[in-house]
C-alpha cells in the first residue's frame, strides 16, 4: 500500500466516523425539554476530528442556563457508550445563540409538546416589546396574554389563554 492510498483511507475513515458521531449526537436531547434534541435547538454547532479524538462544539442558550453542564455530560456519555472515549466538548460563544437556529422540525415538536415556539425572527423583534396574539397550543385561540416574561426556565415566558383559561409556556424569541 502506498502512502497516498493510506492517507485517503484515513480521511475516509474519519469521514465515516464523524458521520456516525453526528448520528449519535442527533439523539442527545435537551434535559429540560426532552422532546427537542440539542441539534433541533441549535446548541450543537459542529463535530470535528482533532487528530486524536472527537471534538464537539456546543453553544450556550442563556449565559446562566444550568442545563449546559448536563448537556455536556450527556454528549460525553452518549459518545462513550458508543465506544468513543477521547471526547472533548468545547463551548463557543460567538456568534451568540439565537432561536432563529431552531429547526422547523424542532418548532413543530415543541408545539406538540404544549410549548409555543419562538414567533418570527429575532432580528425583526425586540424583547422590549411584548409578543401578542400567540396561538394557544391547546385550543388554538389567539386570545392569549402574557402572565410573566420569566418562566420555569430562562428560555421560556408564561402565558395564559383567555378562551380555555389554561396557562402555557412560550419559548422566547432571542
Amino acid at each position: 500500500m502506498n502512502a497516498a492510498h493510506a492517507t485517503g483511507e484515513v480521511s475516509g475513515h474519519v469521514e465515516s466516523m464523524l458521520k456516525e458521531v453526528g448520528e449519535i449526537l442527533e439523539r442527545v436531547t435537551d434535559p429540560e425539554i426532552p422532546v427537542l434534541t440539542i441539534a433541533d435547538l441549535g446548541i450543537l454547532r459542529d463535530v470535528r476530528w482533532n487528530g486524536g479524538g472527537i471534538q464537539v462544539i456546543i453553544t450556550p442558550t442563556y449565559s446562566g442556563c444550568p442545563a449546559m453542564q448536563t448537556i455536556e455530560q450527556d454528549v460525553r456519555a452518549a459518545l462513550n457508550r458508543n465506544g468513543y472515549t477521547d471526547v472533548e466538548v468545547k463551548t463557543q460563544l460567538a456568534p451568540p445563540w439565537t432561536t432563529d437556529w431552531m429547526s422547523a422540525a424542532g418548532r413543530e415538536k415543541l408545539l406538540q409538546y404544549g410549548i409555543v415556539p419562538p414567533a418570527g425572527s429575532s432580528a425583526k423583534q425586540s424583547l422590549r416589546v411584548p409578543v401578542r396574539g400567540l396561538t394557544c397550543p391547546r385550543c388554538r385561540s389567539a386570545d392569549t396574554e402574557e402572565i410573566s416574561r420569566f418562566g420555569s426556565t430562562p428560555c421560556k415566558a408564561l402565558y395564559r389563554c383567555n378562551a380555555c383559561l389554561e396557562p402555557f409556556d412560550y419559548f422566547k424569541c432571542i
Partner: protein, 250 residues
C-alpha cells in the same frame, strides 16, 4: 498577559457576580411567584455572565485559577465591584431601583463592548446584551408601576432612588485601567455610556413620575477593592461552603 486587561475583565466579572448574589437572595422571598421567578432568572443570567468573565480573567492571569477560585477564594480587598452592587437588598422597591439603574448601565455598556478589539470580550458582550435588554425592560416597567402606582409605592420607590443615586457616579469614574483599555480599543468610553445612561434614566423617571434627586455625597472605591461594611457579610455567605470544603463539587 496585560495586567490592565485582567483588571478590566475581573471588574466586569465581580460586578455581575455580586449583583447576581444579591438578587438571588430573593429566591423564595419574592412578593409573588412570577416576580420571584423573574428575579432569580435575572440572577442566573448575571451569575452566567460572571462565570464567563471570571473564567476568562483566570486564563488571562495564567496562574491556573478557575472561576471558582476567583469567586470563592479571594478576600474582600481583592474584589473590584462597585458599591451599588453590594448594598443589601432592602425592600422590593430598593431592589427594583438598584436593578433598573444597573440594568440601564449594563445595557449601554455591553452594547458598546460588542465592538471591543478583544475578541473574547466582544463575544461575551454580544451574548450578554440580549439578556441585558429584557432585564432593562423588566426593571423599567416596575419603576413605572411603582412610581406611578399608589401613594405608598411612590413613596417607597422615591426613598429607594434617593438612597441609591449617590452610588451611581462611581459607575462612570474612569481610572487608569479604564483609560488604557479604551485607548487600546478594548474598553468602552465611559463618558458616552454616561450620556446614554442619563437619557435612559430621565426617560423612565419621567414616565414613572419620579424626580431625579440631588446628590449631596458619593461613595466609591470599588475599582480599587475598597468596599462598604456590607461586603464582608455578603462574601461570608457566598464563600462559606467552599472555604469549609475546598474544591467541593456538585
Amino acid at each position: 498577559m496585560s495586567s490592565d486587561l485582567f483588571q478590566y475583565v475581573i471588574r466586569l466579572g465581580d460586578n455581575a457576580l455580586i449583583n447576581g448574589q444579591r438578587l438571588a437572595e430573593w429566591c423564595g422571598h419574592g412578593p409573588f411567584l412570577e416576580e420571584d421567578l423573574a428575579m432569580t432568572n435575572t440572577a442566573l443570567d448575571l451569575i452566567g455572565r460572571a462565570r464567563m468573565l471570571l473564567t476568562y480573567a483566570g486564563e488571562l492571569e495564567g496562574e491556573g485559577r478557575s472561576e471558582d477560585d476567583l469567586a470563592y477564594f479571594r478576600n474582600e480587598r481583592e474584589f473590584r465591584n462597585f458599591h451599588i452592587m453590594e448594598l443589601p437588598v432592602g425592600d422590593f422597591a430598593f431592589t427594583t431601583a438598584r436593578q433598573f439603574l444597573v440594568d440601564a448601565y449594563d445595557y449601554h455598556y455591553y452594547r458598546a463592548l460588542r465592538d471591543s478589539a478583544d475578541a473574547t470580550l466582544a463575544a461575551i458582550a454580544a451574548k450578554t446584551l440580549k439578556e441585558c435588554e429584557y432585564h432593562l425592560r423588566h426593571s423599567s416597567e416596575w419603576m413605572v408601576r411603582l412610581g406611578d402606582g399608589t401613594e405608598e409605592s411612590h413613596e417607597k420607590i422615591t426613598r429607594a432612588v434617593t438612597g441609591l443615586m449617590p452610588f451611581t457616579p462611581e459607575l462612570f469614574a474612569a481610572d487608569e485601567v479604564d483609560r488604557a483599555m479604551q485607548e487600546q480599543g478594548i474598553g468602552v468610553d465611559l463618558d458616552s455610556i454616561e450620556t446614554s445612561w442619563n437619557q435612559e434614566v430621565d426617560r423612565v423617571f419621567s414616565e414613572a413620575m419620579l424626580e431625579r434627586p440631588q446628590i449631596s455625597f458619593t461613595r466609591g472605591g470599588g475599582r480599587q477593592g475598597l468596599h462598604s461594611e456590607h461586603m464582608g457579610y455578603l462574601l461570608a455567605e457566598m464563600q462559606s461552603l467552599q472555604r469549609a470544603h475546598p474544591g467541593l463539587n456538585w
